[in-house]
Symmetry: C2
Subunit: 81 residues, 2 copies
DNA sequence: CGTGTAAGGAATTCTGACACG
DNA sequence: CGTGTAAGGAATTCTGACACG
């Protein structure tokens, strides 16, 4: 539960990812940024870490739906490994 | 040396201060945000803590120039108390 | 001195779509 | 499927100034 304080441009700098990639991962339910009243996305440092993990997994051959199902298992089973 | 990741609007939310106050404290050399290429200010969580401290001190009757001289002493003497 | 506000411009982000493969 | 891009609009921030006291 970290604080959602960064805009997408900052997240791009920290992760090296494009805005397109970050928004797409959200569309696939892999990350959940907050929104300002105006609709602007806000991310936490935890989101940044997750984004790196997601991108790395995709490079390793995983698909977004696979990553999503892995997230579901984590939140259910309680085991992380 | 924390990372400068927040825009001023976020800092306002976290501190309860107005943009005006935050920019004014910068003008008085009490905080030092970074800038994006476009000129937008970026703050760290440390800046947020400092801003709260600054505002509290002002309410206690201090002037900005007094707070600045206190900052100078800290960075020189090495003592924090 | 420290802060509020209206003013106009500039930087940043948003959505939906077309493209490639 | 995952990502790039051009398009137009909307949200956010910036500076300099006038105001109060």
């Amino acid at each position: 539960m970290e604080e959602k304080v960064m805009y997408i441009g900052t997240v791009c700098e920290l992760t090296g990812l494009s805005e397109r990639q970050i928004r797409y991962y959200e569309e696939r339910k892999l990350i959940f940024p907050n929104r300002t009243k105006g609709g602007v996305r806000k991310y936490s440092f935890e989101d940044v870490a997750n984004l790196r993990e997601i991108n790395r997994s995709l490079k390793d051959g995983f698909r977004t739906f696979e990553l999503r199902s892995m997230l579901d298992k984590r939140s259910h089973g309680g085991r992380k490994l």
